[in-house]
Amino acid sequence: MTVLLDPTSERSPTIRPRLPRPQSLDGLTIGILDIAKSRGDVFLHRLGERLGERGIAVKYYAKPTNTRPAPLPLRQQIATEVDLVIEGLSD
C-alpha cells in the first residue's frame, strides 16, 4: 500500500469528500440509474413515480449489463442531462 505525505494545509479530511449537495431539489433533474440486477427496476420505477408526484423531473437510465461498469458514453450522457443521481440496486 502506498503512503503519501499530504501536501496540503490539512484542513480537510483524508478521504475524498462527497460533492457538496444542493440546498433543495427545486428545479433540479434526478437521474435514476438501474444497474441491471433483477427486481431493481420495480424499486427504482416506484421511486421515480413518487418523485414525479412531487413535481421533480426524472430521467431513467439503465446499464446494459450488471457485470461491467456503466459504459463511458452512458456516464457522459448522464452527467450532461441530470443534476443528481440515484443508482441501484446492489446486493
Partner: protein, 480 residues
C-alpha cells in the same frame, strides 16, 4: 531481532563486501568457537563461513538499532548494556574488548573498516521510515490498494492539471537533503488559507512538481519572496487579471543546478526552470488553498500559471544582474518574484542604434494593458543577447536605457481621457494638459535572457502600478 542480542557477551556486525571483514573472519570464527559471540551479517547470509551460527541481518534492523557506522564493528555487552565497541580490525582493541590474547596471529596489527550498509543512501531513508524516525510531520495519506496513484492525487485536488510525482516518505526525505534548514521551520503563512508553509510542506510539493533536492533552496527562497508582504500574494492570487508569480534566478546556483538562461529560456524543456516554478504554484494551491474559480478569480489567467521561472543570462553582459540592481551582492544566488503574465514579443531586426531599438521597445510597452491606460502596470523587459549587444556596443548602461524608455513612455494626458481615440476606456478629463507616464518610477525591470541568435526580445506584463494595495517585486537570497 533485539531479543537475540546477548545480555552478556560480544556482538559483531560484518558484511562480505568489506575486505577487512573478510580479513577478520577467521578471528570471528575463533571467538565464536569460544562461545559468547553473536555475528550479524549485513549483505550475504552465507558470510562468514567461519561462524556457522551467524545471524542474517540483511533487513538491517539490528544494524540500525545498534547504530552501526563501520564494519566490522565489535561490541561488548554486560548485564544487557553496551560497555564498549570498536571499529575495523585492531588487535589491541579487540584484545581489550574480548580479553583474548594473540587474536589473528597472521593478520596485520590493524586495518580500517568499511562503510556500513545501513548508512548507504536510499537504505538509510527506508530504515528511518520503517522505524518511524523520519521526523516528518505531514499527515500520511494511504492510497487504497485499488486506487491508481495518479488518479488518487487528481481526485484529492492536488494537481495543477498535469501529472504529479507521488510524494512518498522516501522522496520527501531525499528532497529535504537539499537543505540544512529544519523541516519544521515556518517560512510564513500562505494566503488565502493562511496555513503554515513549513520547509517540509514545501518539500512535499517540490517532490510533486518534479524537483531534484538541489533545487529546494531556490524553491524556499521563492516561497519566502511571495510571502513577503510587499508582494501582496493574496491580491495577486485573487485578481480577475492575468498574473501569477514569475521567478527570475540569479547567481551561481543557476549553473550548479543546470537552469536555462539561453535558448528557449522562457519555454519548456529544462527541468530546473519547469519544476521550480511549478513547485511554487503547487504550494500556493495546496498549502494556501489558492485555486482557480475559488479564491483565484482570474478571467483568463495565463499559461505562466503552470510555471514561469527562468535564469538570467549574466555571463558576458555589460549590465549588472537583476539581483544586484535590487541590492544584493554580486555573486550571491537570489530569486526575484514579479507578478506578471505571458510574453509580448518584440521583433526588431533592423535597428543598429540604441535609440531606434529603444523606440521599438517603447512602442510595445505602450500597448500593455490598454493603450488608453497609464500608469497601466509594471513590466519586465527580457532583452535577448543580440539586442543587448546593440546597447553594449553603444556604451549604454542599464540606467541609461531605463531613462530612455521612461522618456519614450510619457503620454499626453489628453490622449488618455475616456473617449479619446474613440475608445471609452481611459481616465478622467482632468488628465488632459499634463503628461502621464505609462509606468510608475521603478515600474520597469530589465533582465537579459535568451539564445545568442535572434533579434527578439519580450515583455512580461505586470499587474498593478504601485500604490498601497499593489504588488511589488521581491528579491530573496538563496540559502542552503
Amino acid at each position: 531481532m533485539t531479543d537475540r542480542l546477548p545480555q552478556d557477551g560480544l556482538v559483531a556486525v560484518v558484511k562480505r563486501d568489506c575486505p577487512t571483514c573478510v580479513l577478520a573472519a577467521p578471528v570471528l570464527g575463533d571467538l565464536a568457537r569460544n562461545g559468547g559471540l553473536t555475528v550479524y551479517t549485513q549483505d550475504d547470509p552465507s558470510f562468514p563461513e567461519t561462524v556457522p551460527g551467524r545471524v542474517d541481518d540483511t533487513a538491517l534492523d539490528v544494524s540500525h538499532r545498534l547504530k552501526i557506522e563501520i564494519v566490522p564493528t565489535l561490541i561488548r555487552f554486560e548485564a544487557g548494556r553496551e560497555v564498549g565497541r570498536t571499529y575495523g580490525w585492531d588487535r589491541g582493541e579487540w584484545r581489550r574488548l574480548t580479553g583474548v590474547e594473540g587474536l589473528g596471529p597472521g593478520l596485520p596489527e590493524a586495518r580500517p573498516g568499511c562503510g556500513a550498509k545501513n548508512l548507504e543512501p536510499g537504505i538509510i531513508e527506508r530504515l528511518k521510515i520503517r522505524f518511524n524516525e523520519t521526523g516528518l510531520k505531514s499527515r500520511r495519506i494511504e492510497i487504497g490498494k485499488d486506487e491508481d496513484e495518479q488518479e488518487a492525487m487528481y481526485a484529492r485536488g492536488w494537481s495543477d492539471g498535469l501529472p504529479l510525482v507521488p510524494p512518498t516518505e522516501e522522496r520527501v526525505l531525499r528532497m529535504l537533503d537539499g537543505t540544512a534548514r529544519d523541516p519544521q521551520e515556518v517560512l510564513g503563512l500562505v494566503p488565502p488559507a493562511l496555513a503554515a508553509a513549513t520547509v517540509e510542506k514545501i518539500a512535499v510539493n517540490a517532490v510533486m512538481a518534479g524537483c531534484k533536492s538541489e533545487y529546494l533552496p531556490v524553491v524556499l527562497a521563492a516561497v519566502e519572496a511571495v510571502l513577503d508582504e510587499s508582494f501582496a500574494m493574496h491580491g495577486v492570487l485573487a485578481t480577475t487579471g492575468f498574473v501569477g508569480p514569475v521567478l527570475v534566478v540569479n547567481g551561481p546556483v543557476r549553473g550548479r543546478i543546470g537552469m536555462n538562461a539561453k535558448g528557449n529560456a522562457l519555454g519548456q524543456g529544462n527541468r530546473a526552470n519547469a519544476a521550480i516554478g511549478r513547485a511554487l504554484q503547487l504550494v500556493i494551491r495546496n498549502v494556501g488553498e489558492g485555486r482557480p474559480r475559488e479564491v483565484d478569480r482570474a478571467t483568463l489567467g495565463n499559461p505562466g500559471k503552470y510555471t514561469y521561472c527562468f535564469a538570467e543570462d549574466e555571463e558576458g553582459s555589460s549590465w549588472a544582474p537583476l539581483s544586484v540592481e535590487r541590492g544584493l551582492k554580486p555573486g550571491q544566488s537570489a530569486v526575484t518574484v514579479f507578478a506578471g503574465y505571458g510574453l509580448q514579443g518584440v521583433t526588431d531586426q533592423k535597428s543598429r542604434d540604441p535609440e531606434s531599438l529603444s523606440r521599438s521597445f517603447a512602442g510595445s510597452l505602450l500597448g500593455l494593458g490598454n493603450v488608453k491606460l497609464a500608469p497601466a502596470c509594471d513590466a519586465m523587459l527580457v532583452i535577448s543577447p543580440e539586442h543587448h549587444r546593440t546597447f553594449r556596443q553603444a556604451g549604454w548602461s542599464k540606467a541609461r536605457l531605463y531613462e530612455e524608455l521612461y522618456r519614450l513612455c510619457e503620454i499626453p494626458g489628453a490622449d488618455l481621457v475616456t473617449g479619446a481615440k474613440a475608445i471609452a476606456e481611459g481616465g478622467p478629463a482632468s488628465l488632459a494638459g499634463k503628461p502621464v507616464n505609462k509606468f510608475r518610477p521603478g515600474g520597469i525591470m530589465i533582465v537579459r535572457a535568451g539564445g545568442d541568435a535572434g533579434m527578439f526580445s519580450g515583455i512580461i506584463g505586470g499587474w498593478s502600478a504601485g500604490g498601497p494595495r499593489s504588488s511589488l517585486p521581491v528579491t530573496k537570497e538563496v540559502r542552503n
